[in-house]
Assembly symmetry: C2
Homo-oligomer: 418 residues x 2
């Protein structure tokens, strides 16, 4: 986003981009081009596509519940191999390069095996490699805790590795090279008029979870937001500009709605007739949290006659685990009963402009009503409005909302003379 061309770049290549020896050689050629332009380049790689699953399956052949510390030691080898292979490929075409693992640049994390969080990175070895004109290839997804145990950052963790490294190196940009050419206003498979976003701010990206999750680990965006790292999501197969995900700036054009996202894998639970008293919400959600269930939307209506209804959504796959917990809660707090819906859909519109423009919510409800789509739940944040609807109506809702808020506008823009 600087006017001058970025000098110090962190690039991250996903598993598909390094999925075979041929593709690794292609990545090396791309890196060579950057290097020959005089850029300081740190490349973060994922495991070759399929490798993490292979290692996981191998571990599960030993025991269905592998010890987490040991599982991390197994899984981390995927990135170790791809980092070293890419470095070999670079040497082969005359590019000085060195692979670095989590323990070699002390990507220090906590000890939460399988979902560790990065605390710090010691970039001195990277800086000295840069000084000597070398490309650095870093194994993504991995770190070490205080006792030098190998940790991993969870699925998609290489994105977080890349952003953390970019922050530590004060890189001009962190490029996320992937098999799509950017972030779209909505899922193109659902809505044919979906268009690529040129630029979006971190907060919008976070709220567009379901769009972003396909190309970018959400935690990496949080990290980028906190450390004000410029992300550039782009294709690893060509040089076209992708989508810039950047800190919000004063002069940023406040698009009313930047994207429409949807989810289909949620279930809905309503607890009816709960005696309304302080601690009501805690009595429901503490047991769920203790069971590791991630609750998404929560809606509580005003109470009538000292009783209220509480509705929430959870991942559909967790419903079987949720139901007995809620049954216990119902008995314990003396609620009337509970009803669960195994599959509901959620559609959200997201945009910075909502903060200053009224009427987005009412227009959204109006558009859905015009299509005869019934809204079951509503939840809003500063820059997002989400509704829960029947799962079969998700595609239609996305299309009409995209046309209403984005599609027409973009078509109009495209039609207007430059």
């Amino acid at each position: 986003m600087d006017k001058k061309s970025p000098h110090r770049i962190v690039q991250k290549y996903g598993g598909t981009s390094v999925g075979s020896p041929d593709r690794i050689r292609a990545v090396a050629e791309r890196v060579k081009r950057y290097h020959s332009e005089g850029k300081e380049l740190a490349v973060v790689v994922s495991a070759m596509a399929g490798e993490t699953n292979r290692l996981l399956a191998l571990s599960q052949q030993i025991t269905p519940q592998p010890h987490r510390r040991e599982l991390d030691a197994v899984l981390a080898t995927g990135e170790q191999v791809s980092a070293a292979l890419l470095t070999m490929a670079l040497h082969h075409i005359g590019v000085p390069a060195v692979s670095l693992l989590g323990h070699q640049i002390r990507i220090a994390t906590d000890s939460s095996f399988g979902r560790a969080r990065i605390r710090s990175i010691d970039v001195s070895r990277v800086e000295s490699a840069f000084s000597s004109g070398s490309v650095v290839v870093v194994a993504g997804f991995q770190g070490v805790d205080e006792e030098q145990n190998i940790t991993t950052l969870g699925r998609g963790g290489s994105d977080t590795s890349a952003v953390a490294l970019a922050a530590a190196l004060k890189a001009d940009v962190c490029e996320i090279l992937t098999d799509v050419n950017g972030v779209y206003t909505t899922d193109p498979r659902v809505c044919p008029s979906a268009t690529k976003l040129d630029r979006i701010c971190h907060e919008e990206m976070l709220e567009l979870a379901s769009l972003g999750a396909k190309v970018l680990q959400l935690r990496s965006v949080e990290f980028a937001s906190r450390y004000r790292v410029n992300l550039h999501v782009r294709s690893s197969f060509d040089d076209s500009e992708g989508t810039w995900v950047v800190p919000e700036e004063e002069n940023m054009e406040e698009v009313l709605v930047s994207g429409v996202s949807c989810e289909r894998d949620e279930a809905k639970v309503t607890v009816q007739g709960i005696p309304d008293s302080p601690g009501l919400a805690a009595s429901v959600f503490v047991p769920l949290a203790e069971a590791g269930i991630v609750v998404d939307m929560i809606v509580q209506n005003v109470s009538e006659a000292g009783r209220t209804d509480l509705t929430f959504t959870v991942p559909a796959k967790d419903l079987a685990e949720v139901e007995p917990i809620i049954k216990t809660v119902v008995d314990k707090v003396g609620a009337k009963n509970f009803i669960s819906t195994p599959h509901v859909g959620k559609v959200s519109v997201v945009g910075l402009g909502m903060r200053s423009h009224a009427g987005v919510a009412s227009r959204m409800f109006d558009v859905l009503a015009g299509e005869g789509i019934n809204i079951q739940m509503i939840s809003t944040s500063e820059i997002k409005i989400s509704v829960v609807i029947e799962v079969d109506l998700v595609d239609r809702a996305v299309n009409v909302l995209h046309d209403a808020f984005i599609g027409d506008d973009r078509e109009a823009k495209a039609a207007s003379p430059a």
Copy 2:
């Protein structure tokens, strides 16, 4: 070898023994038995059978000559995976265990990637695991140099890892668990009357290279000899006693001949008519050493008329590389010419007893002469006599020598009353 049962044990399991999830579970059961007997146990593992070759092939798909530092980073993952898998399997059956990698216990090596030598091991983490009743599983074959670069010790390096660890831990014994049940007096496929050795000293083992190489990396024996580590080579499939390889002791029975070894993959080169002057040998062997060629036997006859013949053997696979070097040498020193034989056989008899008993050499030559086997070269050390013969005659030579020096004797022993 102590009268009391060993308390602190290092065990090494080869690639075949950890070649599948089932076999890893079987190893875990064996380890559990030792652990439940109260032993302090450090287990060193190789990569799963076939894995090192797979990783090597993958690297060579990137480039035929992979960068050595990066190749080591790739290859080391094989042992990292098997160590963590075995540790998972131990946890699964209730045995506390922790996997440790080269960088986690600082198996410090030099920086000779692909053939690094161990300098030291920091056993503090192993000792503290022992104190807490834990089994330690160490990834073999790998170490780190001073800059934390991953190094590997060369093929079969896990044996060396195990012996070095046993030395550092002052273990009572280093058990090499493998798919054969010990070291034999000669190759049983060549000579049906081959018998398992109960006990052999390090020096004999070193001289019996061709017998030992199948079950034990030679460098690990050197290491064991230097640090007086008791080795026990035994089967990983049952509990039978294998072969003890131990330091020579005062009261050791000096067997005249403990084994008959043979090799078939050598080539022979004779340089004829070299002007005999100081530096003659260097002029031939320095260029070979610079090319990384390992020369085995060297024989130089007394000179006649100021000229001499020099004969040596090299690995047969290296002959194509040796010939042009020798051609250059012949031209340079003004030798007459050179003759090479692409395949010769070598047969050796080895035994501590030779040091004090005369007549082994003459009996050996006599036995071979009796079979009409012509001797092309002779080389002797303190405890070994080797002869080069026609490659097709190796099997016959091994059989007659084994019968003459070992077979009859053992039969006699077996026949005598206890």
